[in-house]
C-alpha cells in the first residue's frame, strides 16, 4: 500500500502558566492509503493534539512547533501557507469527525445551511463548476447548477449514513436532533468532499453506549467502501480492535509501538502496550492497573517517558529515547528492552 500520511519526529509544546508543556516528543506516525489507523492512548497522551496538528487547527499563539514534518501526499503540511492549507487540504483532502457532535454544530444555523456551506467550498465538483478564483471569500456565490448537484449528493449520502427523511433533517436546527443523528451527519459531512483521509477524534465518546457500536460500524463500512483512510483516536483498545487495520500506541507524548491489528493484539512487545492490554477487563472481572502516574508534560522524564513506571527500565532508557526498530512486517517498536515472546 502507498504511504498517504507520514508524521516524522513531530515535536511541539504549548505555553502554559506553569511553563512549556512538551505535548508531543518526536512522534512518528504512518498511514497508508485506505488504511484505518487507530491511535490509542490514555487521556492527555497527545493523541488529540496530534490529530489537530494534522488538521492545522492548533491554537496559534500558544503552540511552539520545534521540529519534525507532516507529509501528506508528498507535501509538508507544516511548511504550507495557512491559506493554501485551509483551501486545498482542510475539509477537502483531509476531513474531520469531531469528538463532540453537540458543540461542533453551530447552534443558530440549520443543519442544512451548515452542510451546504461545506459543499459550497469543498464539493468535489468545485473545480468543474463555478470556480471563482481570486474573489474574496465573503463575495463568492454558490452557482445554482453546482448547488443542485451537491444537494443531490448530500441527500444520497444522508441515506447512506442511515438518516431517514433527509429533507426534513436538513431543515432542522442542531438542538432538534439526537446525538446519534448529529454524529451521522458529521460522518456524512466528512465523506461528502470525497477526501483521502478522515480524522475521527474519539467520535463515539460523547454518545450513548448503545449507539456507539452503530456509529463505529458505519465509519468502518463507509471507509472500506470508499477506500478512505481514517485516523481514529480512541482510549479504548476494544474499539480499536473492532474497526482498525493497524494501531499506534502513544504514551505521554511519545509513540511507543505500531502494528497491524492482529499482530498488535497477539504479539506486542513494548512493556507499556503489554500493561495496557493487561489492563483490559478480563472475563474473571479482575482489572490489572498500571502502577505509578502519568508524568507531568512540563517536566517529563528524560529518555523514554515510560521508564519511571516500567519494570524493564535500565540506565539506557533514562539516557535517550529508544530508536524505532522493526519487529516484523509493519510492526515498529521503540524500546531498548522489549518483551521477548515465543514465536506464535
Amino acid at each position: 500500500m502507498a504511504e498517504l500520511l507520514a508524521v516524522r519526529d513531530l515535536t511541539l509544546g504549548f505555553h502554559t502558566d506553569a511553563g512549556l508543556a512538551r505535548v508531543l516528543d518526536g512522534v512518528n506516525l504512518t498511514i497508508d492509503r485506505g488504511q484505518v489507523m487507530g491511535l490509542v492512548g490514555e487521556s492527555g497522551c497527545g493523541k488529540t493534539t496530534l490529530a489537530r496538528a494534522v488538521l492545522g487547527v492548533l491554537p496559534r499563539h500558544v503552540t511552539d512547533i520545534s521540529g519534525g514534518s507532516i507529509r501528506f501526499k508528498g507535501r509538508d503540511l507544516l511548511a504550507l501557507a495557512p491559506d493554501v492549507l485551509s483551501r486545498e487540504v482542510c475539509g477537502r483532502a483531509i476531513t474531520f469527525i469531531p469528538q463532540d457532535p453537540y458543540g461542533s454544530f453551530n447552534p443558530v444555523f440549520t443543519v442544512g445551511t451548515q452542510i451546504m456551506e461545506i459543499m459550497k467550498w469543498k464539493s468535489p465538483r468545485r473545480e468543474a463548476i463555478g470556480w471563482q478564483a481570486g474573489m474574496p471569500a465573503l463575495l463568492q456565490t454558490y452557482p445554482a447548477e453546482r448547488r443542485r448537484a451537491d444537494r443531490d449528493a448530500v441527500l444520497k449520502l444522508l441515506d447512506a449514513v442511515q438518516l431517514p427523511q433527509p429533507e426534513q433533517i436538513l431543515r432542522k436546527y442542531p438542538h432538534e436532533l439526537s446525538g446519534g443523528q448529529r454524529q451521522r451527519l458529521m460522518i456524512a459531512m466528512a465523506l461528502l468532499p470525497e477526501p483521502d483521509l478522515v480524522i475521527a477524534d474519539e467520535p463515539t465518546t460523547a454518545l450513548d453506549v448503545t449507539i456507539q457500536a452503530q456509529i463505529l460500524g458505519l465509519i468502518r463500512r463507509l471507509a472500506t467502501e470508499r477506500g478512505v483512510a481514517v485516523l481514529f483516536t480512541t482510549h479504548d483498545l476494544g474499539t480499536a480492535y473492532e474497526i482498525c487495520d493497524a494501531v499506534t500506541v502513544m504514551y505521554a507524548g511519545q509513540d511507543v509501538e505500531s502494528a497491524p491489528t492482529d499482530v498488535f493484539f497477539t504479539r506486542c512487545v513494548h512493556p507499556y502496550t503489554d500493561r495496557l492490554l493487561a489492563s483490559l477487563p478480563r472475563p474473571d472481572g479482575k482489572v490489572a492497573g498500571i502502577p505509578g502516574e502519568v508524568p507531568s508534560l512540563v517536566t517529563p522524564p528524560p529518555g523514554c517517558r515510560f521508564h519511571p513506571r516500567c519494570d524493564s527500565a535500565a540506565a539506557d532508557c533514562r539516557a535517550a529515547r529508544p530508536p524505532e526498530t522493526a519487529s516484523g512486517a509493519g510492526h515498529r517498536v521503540r524500546c531498548f528492552h522489549p518483551r521477548v515472546r515465543a514465536a506464535a
Binding site: 491554537p59 496559534r60 499563539h61 500558544v62
Partner: protein, 288 residues
C-alpha cells in the same frame, strides 16, 4: 481561601486598569479630604471677586476663574467633597435596600420573587435619569433630595442583580446541603449565599459609583442639584454655557474632573470583574 485572596491581590497589581482606576479614586478621596490645603484659594468657594471674573488660566489661577471671579481649580477640589458624599451615600442606601430585597426574593422564589419582578419592572420601565429628574425637581434642589432621587431610582437594578445572582447560586450543592442540614434561612443567606455573590456586588458597586456620579452631574447640570454657590461640578458646567466660546476653561475643567472620576470607578470595576468573576476569568484563560 487565603492563597485565593493573595492570588487576587497579585492579579490586581498586575491588572493595569484596576491599578489606574484605584489611583484615580485614591486621588479623588485625597482631594476631597485635603481640599482646604490643596486649593490655592480655599475661600473662593463662597467668596466673589467680580473684578477678577473670567480670567484665562495662568500661573495664579491654573484653571482660570469663573463668572464670579472665583478660582475654578479651588472650586473643583471642593466639589470633590460633594461628589463623593452624594455617590457614597446614594450607593449605600441603594445597596442597603436592593441587596436584602434581592436576596430574599431570590432565596424564597414564589410570590416574593414575582412581587420584586413586577415592582422593578415598573421602575425599569423608564430610564433612571428621567425618573430621577422628576423626583429631584418635585422635592426641590438640594443635596439630600439628589441622594434620595438617585437611590429611589437605582435600587431596582440592584435588587434584580442580587436576585439573579442568588438564584444561580441557590442550586449549588453546598447551599442545598446547608439547607438539608437544617440551617435557618437567614443563616444560609448571610453565611453561604452572600459571600458567594459578594464579588458580583463589589464589581457592581464600583461601576454603580461611576454611574451615580454621572447621573448626579446631569441633575446638577439641569439645576436640580446642590443650590448655588455650592461648587457642584454639573452646575459649574451649566453656568459656563453662556460664556462659551470665550471662557473655554470654565466648562472644560469640571467636565474633565467628572470624566476622570467616572473613568476611575469604571476602570476599577472592570479590573475587579476580571479578577473576581470566575465565569469571565475562565473565558479569559481559554483565550488562545
Amino acid at each position: 481561601m487565603k492563597t485565593g485572596w493573595r492570588q487576587a491581590l497579585s492579579k490586581f497589581v498586575r491588572d493595569r486598569a484596576a491599578l489606574i482606576g484605584s489611583v484615580i479614586i485614591l486621588g479623588l478621596i485625597l482631594c476631597a479630604i485635603f481640599a482646604p490645603y490643596l486649593a490655592p484659594f480655599p475661600d473662593d468657594v463662597y467668596e466673589f471677586h467680580t473684578s477678577n471674573r473670567l480670567r484665562a488660566p495662568d500661573g495664579v489661577h491654573y484653571f482660570g476663574t469663573d463668572r464670579m471671579g472665583s478660582d475654578v481649580l479651588s472650586r473643583i477640589l471642593f466639589g470633590a467633597r460633594i461628589t463623593i458624599m452624594i455617590a457614597v451615600i446614594a450607593i449605600s442606601i441603594t445597596v442597603a435596600i436592593g441587596v436584602p430585597i434581592g436576596l430574599i426574593a431570590g432565596y424564597y422564589g414564589k410570590w416574593p420573587s414575582d412581587a420584586l419582578m413586577r415592582v422593578s419592572d415598573i421602575f425599569l420601565a423608564i430610564p433612571q435619569v428621567v425618573l430621577a429628574i422628576a423626583i429631584a425637581q418635585t422635592l426641590g434642589p438640594s443635596i439630600e433630595n439628589v441622594i434620595l432621587a438617585l437611590s429611589a431610582t437605582y435600587w431596582p437594578f440592584w435588587a434584580r442583580l442580587v436576585y439573579a445572582e442568588t438564584r444561580s447560586v441557590k442550586n449549588e450543592i453546598f447551599i442545598e446541603s446547608a439547607i438539608a442540614l437544617g440551617a435557618p434561612p437567614w443563616r444560609v443567606m448571610l453565611l453561604h449565599v452572600l459571600p458567594n455573590i459578594a464579588s458580583a456586588i463589589i464589581v457592581r458597586t464600583s461601576i454603580g459609583m461611576g454611574n451615580t456620579i454621572l447621573t448626579a452631574a446631569i441633575l446638577g447640570f439641569l439645576g436640580l442639584g446642590a443650590p448655588p454657590p455650592a461648587p457642584e461640578w454639573g452646575r459649574m458646567i451649566a453656568e459656563s454655557r453662556e460664556f462659551l466660546p470665550e471662557a473655554w476653561w470654565y466648562a472644560t475643567a469640571p467636565g474633565l474632573a467628572i470624566f476622570l472620576v467616572v473613568m476611575g470607578f469604571n476602570l476599577l470595576g472592570d479590573g475587579l470583574r476580571d479578577i473576581l468573576d470566575p465565569r469571565i476569568r475562565r473565558a479569559a484563560s481559554r483565550e488562545e
